[in-house]
Amino acid sequence: MLELTATLDREVAIYLAGETIQVTVTVSNLSRGKQGIVEQLAWGSLQLICERTIGANSSLSSSSATSRPRPTTSVTKSAATVYSSPPNILFCELQLGPGQTKQFSCDIPLSRNGIPPTFRGHLVKYSNRVTVAVSHVQEHIKSAHLPIRIIPSVGLETKLSLPVNPFLASTLTRPSVVETVMATVDDLTQARKSLVFALTHNSSTSRVALLTLPKKAYKLGDDVCGFLDFNGATTPCVQYSATIETEEHLIDADVEEGKKKMVKVHCQTAPICTFSPDSTFRLSIPLTATPTFSTDSVQLKWKIRFVFVVTEKAYDVHLNGDVASSSAPTDVPVESFSWSTDLLVLPCKPQNAALIDNTFPNRISMTV
C-alpha cells in the first residue's frame, strides 16, 4: 500500500492567474516492519487541467444535440479540456521500502490569461484541478484530482521594471504577482468620482429617486454602498430592492437566444422606504464569487439592479372632527420599475478569498 499525498503551498487552493502553484507530493509506503513489502511505481506525474462543462440544459437539448453532436465519451460527460499545463513527471521507477517516504515538489506556473477562471455558472462551468497520476508497473493509471480555484488577474500586462540599482534589488524585493495584481486592483477600485443617477419613470418629470454610487469598480469582498435620495421625488417610492447579480452570457451560435443568458443573484436588500426621505444600502460582493471575466464561450457581467415600487400618492393624514386622526391605507396600488447598471468586479487577494471559502482544500491523498 502506497499513500500518495499532494499538498499545495497554500492552506486553501485559491490562486490568481499568473501565480505559481507549488505542489509537494509525498509518497509513502504504508507497510511497516519486516513483513512489509517494497513497493514500486512506474511513474508519477502532475498536471493542471481546466475543463469546461456546458450545462446540459442549454446545448444538449435534443434539437441542438442532433444538429451538432458533441464528441463525448462516457467518462468526460460534456466536459472539454480547454487548458492543460505541460505534464510534470515527478518520478520514474520509484521504489520504496517499508515505511519509507519520499517527497517530490513541483511548480506549476499558471498562465496569465490562458486559463479560464474557476467558475460555476448555470450555463458554463470551468473547473480547474491538479491531477496527480501514478502508475504501477503493468497496471492501470490511478489519478486523484485536487480542485483549484483560479481567480482571473488584472494588471499583469504591464511589464515590471527592475529597480535601478542592482545592489539594492535584494532589499527592495520585487512585487509578487499578487502584489502587482492587488496594486492594480486598488488603483482601479479607488473612488474617483461618484456616479449619480436621477431615476425617473414615464417621462423625465416624474422623478423617483436620486442614486449616488461611489464608484463602478469593486473587488471581491467589497461592499457596494449606495445612497438613494427620495427628497423632491414626484412619485413616492414605498419600497425598493437593490440586487447585486451576475449575468452569464453564452457566446455560442448554436444556442437559441433565450437560453443564452442566466442571471444569478448574489446579494439583495429590499427595504421599505415608505416614510424615509432617503435610504442607504450595503450589498456585499461575496468572496466566493467569480470576478468579471470573459472567455471565448462565456461572458460574466456584474450588475446592480434596482426595482422601485412606487405609488401614486403618499400616506395621507385626514382631518376628522376636532382631532386629526388617520390610519394606514389597506390597499396601496403600486407599480414597479426596474433599472440596472454594470459594475466591474475585480479579483481580491487569494488569501482573502481563503478566509471565507472552504470549498478548496489544499491537499488530496490516495492509496495505491
Partner: protein
C-alpha cells in the same frame, strides 16, 4: 451591541400644515416590541417595528384643547397593548384606545394589471403581520398637578405628580385614593432589615421617574432632589402604609432610571453624565453600587465639560445591555460652555455591567457634524424587537438604527466559538478563520454575511437564535416560529416544508447542531403548549416525520451542549442533563434518530430568583486530576455545571457521596465567560496535556526559576495547543470591571507524591484590563478578539448637486494581546514559576516578544513614574523573568527605545548597564539590538564610550554585511549635532540650551530626585526629538535610494554624497570617525577582492566610492610600484578572478562547441583522431554522462590534467598555492556541472594533443586562421566560451555592469579588465580600455594589466581552459592598445622574489609544455610567432590613422589572415 448600518430617518406625516416641527417627546415600544408608540408635542403615532410602517396617528390640533391640556409628554402602554396613556405638561393624562384588527392587513401593495409593472422578486412582497390600527381618544384624567411619570401595569397605572403625591389610577380613569401616597411620607432606610428609617426632609419632594422592578420587589424611583431609591412593599397592592424605601447610597444627582431585570440591576442616570447601577445585597436588602460609568470617546469630540445630565436610560429587554442619551450641559451652570461648542447628539450603548460597546460620536470629526443646532440632542430612546433596533427621537426626526449583537447572548452554545459570530435581525455575520488571516489583506473587516432566506424570515422576523457547529459548516437560526438552517459552503437553506409545523414550533431555549448532522431544538408546541427537545436529521427534509422528540417537563429557556450531553434549564429552575445517543434508523430512507437519557437533574430554585435571571449555563470539567481515582462527576467528563445567575457565576458539583455540593459563587458581575473545557472533551484534552505534564515531571520537584527550561524548543501551536494553565483557565468578562481569569496553578504535577489533589485544583483569580471588549477569548494564542463599529463615509449628492458625504457604520474586528497581563499578575504574586511555565507555553506565538516588551514597559512605566517609593518593586523580578528568555536583549532594547528617557535610569539600574548589554549583543551578534543600545549609550554614557561602541558596532556590522545597521549607525552619528557629541569643540550654533552633561552627572546626587527628574525630562524631550529625527530620515530611505539609483549621472551623485559626508565644520567627531571606518572597510573589501560586497557596501551605505577610487588612481599614477600601502592594487589576478566568480555566482566559461567545431573543421585535414569523433558525438556523450555521475570527478581531474600532462603535480588540487581556487571555484564548477559536461565528455578520449587548448599550440595549416582573428570575427565571445546560458543571472550581470561603470569612471583599469573578463565581454573591453583610459590610468597600470593578462592566460591553461581563448583575444587588444599608446615596451615586473620566481617557473613550465605537446618544430614557430606578432601590431597601429575604431579590428583581422596566409608555419596564437 454593534452597528453596521446607518440610522434610517422616518418621516412623521404632519397633522398641521403650519406645524413647525415634530418635537419628539417619547418613544415607547409595547410589551412584544412589535408596535412603537411615538409622541410628539402634538401627536401620537403608532409604528410597526418591522417593516417600519406608520399604522395610525392622532393629532391634537384643537387650539382650545391644547391650551387646557397642554403639550404631550410621555406615552405608556397598557401591557396588553389595548390602550395607551399619554401625560401632558398640564394636569392631564389622556388615554387612548388602540383598536388592532389582526385579521386585516394594511399596506397591501397591489400590482397593476400590466405585467410589465408588476413586482417580480419575492423580496418585494412583504409578509408578516400588519394589523389595521385605529387610535380612539377615550378618557381624559384631570389631576391636581402636573404628572411627572407613570408606571403602567395590567389593571392600573401609578401616576406620580409634581406635588409629591402618587396615585393608583385604573385604565378606566378611576383614581384609587386609598392607595395614594406622598413621597415625603415614605420611610427610607439604607437596608431592608434593621436600620432606622427616615423620611424625606422636604415636603416638596416628588418622584420624577419610576420604573417597576418586579424581581427586585418594587419600584425604582428617582426623587426630585436627585436621590434614587427602591420602593418595596410586602403588600401586593402597594398600600401606603407598607411602603419602605431603600436608598441608593452615594447618589445625589439622579435624573432618570431603568431596571435590568435579568441582571437585577437598577440603573440611574446622573446629572454629571454618569450612569450608575445598583444591585441588592442578598443579606440585608440594601442597595450596593455595582458600577458607575460615563461615556468615553477616545477618537472623536471631547466630552469633558460638555456632558450634561443623562436624559434617558433604557435597558434591553433581554438584559444584555442598555442605551443612554445625554443632554448638553446647562448653560447657567457652566460659564465655560461658551468657549467650547455644545455637546453633539450623544447616544451610547453599554453591556450589562457597563462596558461601552457603542457610542455614536466615536470616530466622528466634529467639523463634519451637521450645522449645530442649539440644544440638539436625542430626546427619546427605545429598543426595538430583540434589541436589534434602537429607535431615537430628536427635535425633528424619528430615527431607527439597526444593531447586531453577539450570537452568544442567551445562547450558551455559541459562547465558546473561536470566531466572532454576530447576529442581526435578519442576518448572521461570521468572522474569518483566524489562522488564515496572517497573509490576508485587511482581514479584520472580512465577514461572512449570511442573509437568512427571505422565505423563512418574511413571516418569522426577527431572528432569536443563531448557532453554528464548531467547524462552521452549518448554521441554524430560529426566528419567531420554527427554524431554518443552511450549509455555510453552499448557502442552501432548508426550511419546513409544512408551514403549519413551522408555525407550531416556538423555539424557547435555543437551537444547536449536534454531531454535525442533527439539529437540536428546545421549544414548545404552540397548539398543545407542551415543551420538548427535538432533533431533526440534516440528511432529510425538514419535517416532523423525521424528528426525534424528547418530552420536557417544563418550558425550557436555555440549553447547553458538551460532547453528547445536553443540559436544559427550565422555568422551574431545574437543570436536566440528557445523554444523547444517535441511532441510524434502518429502512429504505435511513435517517438518524436521537434518544436522550436523563443523566441527572439539578434543582437550583433556591439560588435562582426567577428563571429570567439565568444568563448562561455550561457543563465543564474543573477537576484537573489526571491520576488516581476519579472525582465524582455528573457524567464521565462533566464534573461541574457553571451557571451565571444575574451576574453571579456559580459552580454546581457533586461531593463524594454523590450529592450536590453547596453552590459556590466564584465571581460576581459576570457578563460573559469562556472556558475551553466546556467544549474540549476529556480525551482530546488529555492528549494535548500529556507532553506538558511530562515536561513538568522532568523538571523535578526542586524547580527553581532557572531549571525550568525556557531554552527548550517552543513547540508549534498546532500540536501543542496551549499550556494547561490557559486551556483550563476560566475567563470572565465583568463589564466595566475588566476581565478576570480563574487560572489553575497545577501545583500537584510537580510534587505529586506529597501533595493531595483537591477536588478543584488550586486556582487563582487574576484581574486584568483590556482596551477592547472581547467577543472571543482565545486561550490558544492568548488573544482577545472584539468588534467595533467604525464609521465610513459614503458619498451622496445633495439637492443642489454638490457632493457630500454621509456616514455609515461598518463592523471591524480588533484584537488585543493579553498574556503580559497574566505574567505580570503572576510575578506580582510571587508565582514566577507559573509565569515561566505560562510564558514557555506561549513562546511559539508570533506576538510573544511583543508581549514581553509590553510586560516590561508596563511595569517600568508604573514603577518609574510612581511618586511614592515602592516597597516591593516588581521591576527587578520582571527583568529577571525576561532574562530567562533569549529575547531578553531585544526586549530591553525595544522597551528602552519606546520609553521616555527619564525612565531609562530606572530600567538600566535593574537590567545592568546598557554598556554591558551592548557588549552582550555584540557577542551574540544581535546587531540590531546593539544598535538600539548605542542610542541609549549616547544618552547615558560619556561621549568617548558611546563613540567607541558606535564605532565598534559599525565595524561589526560591516563585517557581518549588515548594511542597514551600518547605514543606520552612520546616519545616527551624522544626525547627532556636533555640540552633542563633542563638548570640546565650541558649538557652531548657540541654540542648544539643553545640554546632556548635567543630566548625566546629576543622578549621582541622591537628594532632590524630583528636581533631577524634571531636568532630565526636559533634556530628554530634546534628545528624544533628535533620535526621532534620525529615525524619520530612515523612513525616507527608499526614496533616497531610488533617487540615487535612478540618477544616471554618477558624478552628480558623488558630489551629493560627498557633500553629505563632509559638511566640513559642522560634522561631529563621531561622524568623522564613522567615515574613516567606512573608508577602511572599503579598502579592506577592495584589497580582498570582495567586489560584490563592495558594491553592496557602496549602494547601501551610499558611500563615496568614487572619491575613494579616485584617490587610488592618483596614488597609483604617482607611484605605481608602491603597492598595498594604501592604494590597493590587484596583486593576485587569478585569485581576484576566482573570487569574482564565487561572489557573483558566475559560472566558469567552457569552450564553446561551435568554436571547437570550427577549429576542428580547420584542422580537420591534418588530424582526424578518436577525440574529434567523440566531439561530434557530443549529445550521446552527455546523456551517458548523466547516467554515470560517479565517473565525473575523476574525469574532471583529467580536464585539468590534459592541458599539462607533464606537470603531474597540478593533478593534486590541494597542493595548489592558491587555496581560494579550491574553496570557491570547484564547488561552483561542480554545481554547474552541466556546463562543463561537454569538456568532460571529450576528456576521457582526448589524447594530450587533441585538446582545444593544445590545438592552439599546434602548428596551423596554411588554410587555418588564427584564433585571434577568429575572436575578432566573432564579435560575440559567447562563441569562444560557450552558450549564453552558462552566464550568471541577470541580477549579477547588472551588478557587474554597474561596477564596471564605477571603475571606468575612476580609471581602475585592473578591475575593468577583470570584470570585462568575467563577463566575457570583449566589446566592453574595447570600449572601456581605450587610449584615453590608458592615459588616465597611467602607463604602469596598463602594463600591469597586460602582465595580468598573460599571467591569467597561464593560469587559465592550468585551471580553466575556457578562459584561454578569451584571454588571448583580450591580450591582443591590449597589445594593440599598448602599441597605440606607444608603451608596448613597458613591462610590468612584479615586486618580490616570490613573484619573480613563480614567473620564471611558469615560463619554464610553459616552455616545457610546448615542447611536450608540440615538439621541436613548434618551438621554432613559437619564437617566430612572437616576432611576427610584434610586426603585426606595428602595422596595425599604422593602419589606425585612417580606419574607424569600430571596424578597425575586423580589418586588421582580415589583414592578419592574409598576412598569415602568406607566412608559413604561423601559429594560431
Amino acid at each position: 451591541m454593534f452597528q453596521n448600518d446607518r440610522a434610517s430617518v422616518l418621516q412623521l406625516p404632519k397633522h398641521e400644515k403650519d406645524s413647525i416641527e415634530a418635537d419628539i417627546r417619547s418613544i415607547v415600544a409595547n410589551r412584544e416590541r412589535r408596535l412603537i408608540a411615538v409622541a410628539t408635542n402634538d401627536a401620537i403615532y403608532i409604528w410597526l417595528a418591522n417593516p417600519q410602517l406608520l399604522l395610525c396617528s392622532i393629532g391634537v390640533i384643537d387650539q382650545t384643547f391644547r391650551e387646557t391640556s397642554g403639550e404631550l409628554k410621555d406615552i405608556y402602554w397598557k401591557p396588553d397593548s389595548s390602550s395607551i396613556a399619554v401625560t401632558t405638561n398640564q394636569n392631564k393624562i389622556l388615554i387612548y384606545n388602540l383598536e388592532l384588527k389582526d385579521d386585516e392587513l394594511c399596506y397591501n401593495f397591489t400590482d397593476p394589471a400590466d405585467p410589465y409593472f408588476q413586482r417580480n422578486s419575492p423580496e418585494l412582497f412583504i409578509k408578516g403581520n400588519r394589523p389595521v390600527a385605529h387610535l380612539h381618544p377615550t378618557i381624559i384624567i384631570n389631576l391636581a398637578d402636573v404628572p411627572t411619570c407613570c408606571v403602567p401595569s395590567r389593571d392600573e397605572f401609578l401616576v406620580c405628580l409634581r406635588n409629591g403625591f402618587t396615585h393608583h389610577v385604573t385604565w378606566t380613569g378611576e383614581i384609587m385614593s386609598s392607595l395614594s401616597f406622598r413621597a415625603s411620607a415614605i420611610p427610607f432606610s439604607i437596608d431592608q432589615l434593621q436600620s432606622k428609617s427616615e423620611n424625606v426632609t422636604s415636603k416638596s419632594t416628588f418622584i420624577t421617574d419610576a420604573v417597576y422592578a418586579p424581581l427586585l420587589g418594587g419600584f425604582a424611583i428617582v426623587l426630585s432632589d436627585g436621590k434614587g431609591a427602591l420602593l418595596t412593599s410586602n403588600d401586593p397592592n402597594f398600600a401606603p402604609t407598607a411602603i419602605l424605601g431603600v436608598w441608593a447610597p452615594n447618589l445625589k444627582d439622579a435624573t432618570c432610571c431603568d431596571v435590568n431585570h435579568k441582571f437585577l440591576l437598577i440603573l440611574f442616570g446622573c446629572k454629571n453624565g454618569d450612569v450608575c447601577a445598583y444591585n441588592i445585597d442578598e443579606l440585608n436588602g440594601a442597595l450596593i453600587q455595582s458600577f458607575r460609568v460615563a461615556p468615553k470617546v477616545t477618537n472623536g469630540p471631547d466630552l469633558t465639560n460638555r456632558l450634561g445630565p443623562v436624559h434617558k436610560i433604557t435597558a434591553l429587554m433581554n438584559g444584555y445591555g442598555f442605551a443612554a442619551v445625554w443632554a448638553p450641559k446647562d448653560k447657567e451652570n457652566s460659564s465655560s460652555i461658551s468657549e467650547s461648542s455644545a455637546l453633539p447628539r450623544l447616544v451610547a450603548v453599554f453591556t450589562s455591567f457597563g462596558a461601552q460597546s457603542f457610542c455614536n460620536l466615536e470616530g466622528v470629526i466634529e467639523d463634519h457634524l451637521s450645522e449645530e443646532i442649539e440644544n440638539d440632542m436625542y430626546t427619546a430612546v427605545e429598543w426595538g424587537p430583540e434589541g436589534f433596533q434602537l429607535w431615537l427621537g430628536t427635535k425633528n426626526d424619528l430615527m431607527m438604527q439597526s444593531f447586531v449583537r453577539s450570537a452568544s447572548c442567551s445562547n450558551p452554545i455559541m459562547e465558546h466559538c473561536d470566531r466572532a459570530v454576530l447576529m442581526g435581525d435578519s442576518q448572521v455575520l461570521i468572522s474569518a478563520a483566524r489562522d488564515r488571516e496572517a497573509e490576508a489583506c485587511a482581514p479584520h473587516s472580512v465577514w461572512n454575511h449570511i442573509a437568512v432566506t427571505h422565505e423563512y424570515l418574511s413571516s418569522n422576523w426577527p431572528l432569536r437564535y443563531a448557532s453554528t457547529d464548531r467547524k462552521y459548516k452549518h448554521l441554524v437560526v430560529a426566528g419567531d416560529q420554527g427554524f431554518a438552517y443552511c450549509s455555510l459552503s453552499s448557502r442552501r437553506w432548508k426550511i419546513f416544508g409544512n408551514e403549519t409545523q413551522e408555525k407550531n414550533l416556538l423555539v424557547t431555549g435555543g437551537v444547536f447542531i449536534w454531531n454535525d448532522d442533527v439539529i437540536g431544538v428546545v421549544g414548545v408546541a404552540a397548539d398543545t403548549d407542551k415543551s420538548y427537545l427535538s432533533f431533526y436529521p440534516m440528511s432529510q427534509r425538514l419535517d416532523n416525520r423525521f424528528a426525534s422528540v424528547i418530552d420536557l417537563e417544563h418550558k425550557s429557556v436555555m440549553c447547553a451542549l458538551r460532547d453528547d450531553v445536553c443540559a436544559v434549564f427550565d422555568i422551574s429552575a431545574q437543570i436536566t442533563l440528557y445523554k444523547l445517543t444517535a441511532h441510524l434508523e434502518t429502512g429504505r430512507d435511513a435517517f438518524t434518530k436521537v434518544s436522550g437519557d436523563i443523566v441527572t437533574v439539578i434543582r437550583i430554585n433556591e439560588i435562582v430568583p426567577h428563571p429570567t435571571c439565568i444568563v448562561s449555563l455550561q457543563m465543564t470539567q474543573l477537576n484537573l486530576d489526571q491520576r488516581g481515582k476519579l472525582a465524582p462527576a455528573f457524567y464521565s467528563s462533566i464534573d461541574t455545571v457553571l451557571v451565571n445567575i444575574s451576574g453571579r457565576l456559580i459552580t454546581l458539583s457533586l461531593n463524594e457521596e454523590g450529592k450536590l455540593h453547596q453552590p459556590m459563587v466564584i465571581a460576581s458581575y459576570v457578563e460573559k465567560m469562556w472556558h475551553d473545557r466546556c467544549i474540549v472533551s476529556q480525551s482530546t484534552l488529555a492528549q494535548s496535556l500529556e507532553p506538558i505534564w511530562n515536561g513538568h515531571k522532568r523538571n523535578g520537584s526542586n524547580v527553581s526559576i532557572h531549571s525550568v527550561s525556557t531554552t527548550s524548543e517552543p513547540s508549534s501551536p498546532m500540536n501543542h495547543p496551549c499550556s494547561s494553565h490557559l486551556s483550563n483557565a476560566l475567563w470572565i468578562a465583568c463589564g466595566e470591571k475588566g476581565i478576570k481569569v480563574w487560572m489553575p496553578l497545577v501545583p500537584g504535577k510537580r510534587n505529586v507524591a506529597t501533595q493531595e489533589m483537591t477536588f478543584i485544583a488550586k486556582r487563582i483569580m487574576l484581574p486584568f484590563e483590556l482596551d477592547i471588549y472581547p467577543i472571543v477569548i482565545s486561550a490558544r494564542d492568548c488573544l482577545a478578539v472584539g468588534v467595533e463599529s467604525q464609521l465610513q463615509h459614503v458619498a451622496r449628492t445633495s439637492k443642489n448637486g454638490r457632493m457630500e458625504s454621509i456616514t455609515m457604520y461598518g463592523l471591524h474586528r480588533n484584537s488585543e494581546v493579553f498574556v503580559h497581563h497574566l505574567l505580570r499578575q503572576l510575578l506580582k504574586r510571587n508565582l514566577g514559576v507559573f509565569a515561566l511555565e505560562l510564558a514557555g507555553a506561549c513562546r511559539s506565538l508570533p506576538h510573544f516578544t511583543h508581549a514581553l516588551e509590553l510586560l516590561l514597559h508596563g511595569v517600568l512605566e508604573e514603577e518609574a513614574t510612581s511618586s511614592e517609593p515602592i516597597p516591593d518593586p516588581l521591576l527587578p523580578r520582571c527583568v529577571a523573568f525576561i532574562h530567562e528568555f533569549p529575547e531578553f536583549l531585544k526586549t530591553v532594547a525595544h522597551c528602552a527605545r519606546k520609553t521616555e528617557l527619564a525612565l531609562w535610569r530606572t530600567l538600566f539600574d535593574v537590567t545592568g548597564s546598557p554598556n554591558a548589554l551592548f557588549e552582550e549583543c555584540l557577542q551574540l551578534k544581535q546587531l540590531e539590538n546593539a544598535a538600539s543600545f548605542v542610542i541609549v549609550l549616547q544618552n547615558l554614557e560619556t561621549t568617548e564610550v558611546s563613540m567607541d561602541q558606535a564605532a565598534r558596532l559599525v565595524k561589526e556590522a560591516l563585517e557581518e554585511k549588515k548594511w542597514t545597521i551600518a547605514k543606520e549607525m552612520v546616519r545616527f552619528a551624522k544626525s547627532i549635532g556636533a555640540e552633542d557629541i563633542d563638548a570640546l569643540t565650541p558649538p557652531p550654533s548657540a541654540k542648544t540650551s539643553l545640554s546632556r552633561r548635567p543630566t548625566v552627572s546629576s543622578p549621582s546626587a541622591d537628594s532632590s530626585t524630583e528636581f533631577v527628574i524634571n531636568r532630565f525630562q526636559a533634556g530628554a524631550a530634546g534628545r528624544l526629538n533628535k533620535v526621532r529625527h534620525s529615525q524619520s530620515t530612515d523612513q525616507k530611505d527608499p526614496q533616497r535610494k531610488d533617487s540615487i539609483g535612478s540618477s544616471k549621472d554618477k558624478t552628480a551623485l558623488s558630489r551629493g554624497l560627498s557633500g553629505e559626508l563632509s559638511p566640513q565644520l559642522t560634522v561631529n567627531r563621531l561622524a568623522v570617525r564613522m567615515t574613516s571606518i567606512l573608508e577602511d572597510h572599503a579598502w579592506h573589501l577592495l584589497n580582498n577582492y570582495w567586489i560584490l560586497d563592495l558594491g553592496f557596501f557602496w549602494a547601501e551605505l551610499q558611500f563615496d566610492l568614487l572619491g575613494l577610487l579616485e584617490t587610488r588612481r592618483k596614488q597609483i599614477s604617482i607611484s605605481p610600484k608602491s603597492t598595498n600601502e594604501n592604494c590597493y592594487l590587484v596583486d593576485d589576478f587569478a585569485l581576484a578572478l576566482t573570487r569574482l566568480h564565487a561572489q557573483f555566482s558566475w559560472p566558469y566559461p567552457v569552450i564553446g562547441s561551435q568554436f571547437v567545431h570550427q577549429i576542428e573543421k580547420k584542422l580537420g585535414n591534418i588530424r582526424v583522431s578518436q577525440s574529434t569523433a567523440s566531439l561530434n558525438g557530443l549529445v550521446n556523450g552527455e546523456t551517458s554522462e548523466i547516467i554515470k555521475p560517479k565517473a565525473r570527478r575523476a574525469e574532471r581531474t583529467n580536464v585539468d590534467v590534459n592541458t599539462s600532462i607533464p606537470l603531474r603535480e597540478t593533478d593534486n588540487e590541494t597542493s595548489e598555492e592558491d587555496v581560494e581556487i579550491q574553496e570557491a571555484v570547484l564547488e561552483r564548477v561542480h554545481g554547474s556541472a552541466v556546463e562543463l559536461a561537454p569538456v568532460v565528455d571529450r576528456s576521457p578520449s582526448t589524447s594530450s594533443s587533441m585538446n582545444p587548448v593544445s590545438i592552439a599550440h599546434a602548428p596551423a595549416t596554411p588554410s587555418s586562421c588564427d584564433s585571434r582573428s577568429l575572436a575578432g570575427d566573432w564579435q560575440n565571445t559567447d562563441f569562444l566560451v560557450g552558450e549564453k546560458s552558462s552566464r550568471g543571472n541577470i541580477q549579477s550581470s547588472r551588478q557587474i555592469d554597474l561596477l564596471l561603470d564605477l571603475f571606468s569612471q575612476t580609471a581602475a583599469i585592473d578591475w575593468i579588465f577583470l570584470l570585462c573578463l568575467l563577463s566575457r565581454d570583449e566589446r566592453k573591453l574595447r570600449l572601456e580600455i581605450n587610449l584615453a583610459m590608458v592615459r588616465r590610468a597611467g602607463e604602469k597600470s596598463f602594463a600591469r594589466i597586460r602582465f595580468a593578462c598573460t599571467e591569467l592566460g597561464r593560469w587559465a591553461v592550468e585551471k580553466c581552459c575556457g578562459y584561454v581563448a578569451l584571454l588571448q583575444a583580450f591580450d591582443a587588444h591590449l597589445s594593440v592598445l599598448a602599441e597605440q599608446a606607444g608603451i608596448a615596451d613597458i613591462k610590468y615586473v612584479p615586486d618580490g622574489e616570490k613573484r619573480k620566481l613563480s614567473l620564471k617557473s611558469t615560463t619554464e613550465e610553459r616552455g616545457r609544455k610546448r615542447v611536450d605537446s608540440g615538439g621541436a618544430t613548434l618551438n621554432n614557430s613559437f619564437t617566430k610567432q612572437t616576432i611576427n606578432g610584434g610586426r603585426r601590431e606595428r602595422s596595425r597601429s599604422a593602419d589606425r590613422a585612417h580606419k574607424s575604431v569600430k571596424r578597425y579590428d575586423d580589418v586588421v583581422c582580415a589583414e592578419d589572415a592574409l598576412e598569415k596566409a602568406n607566412e608559413e608555419g604561423c601559429s594560431i596564437m
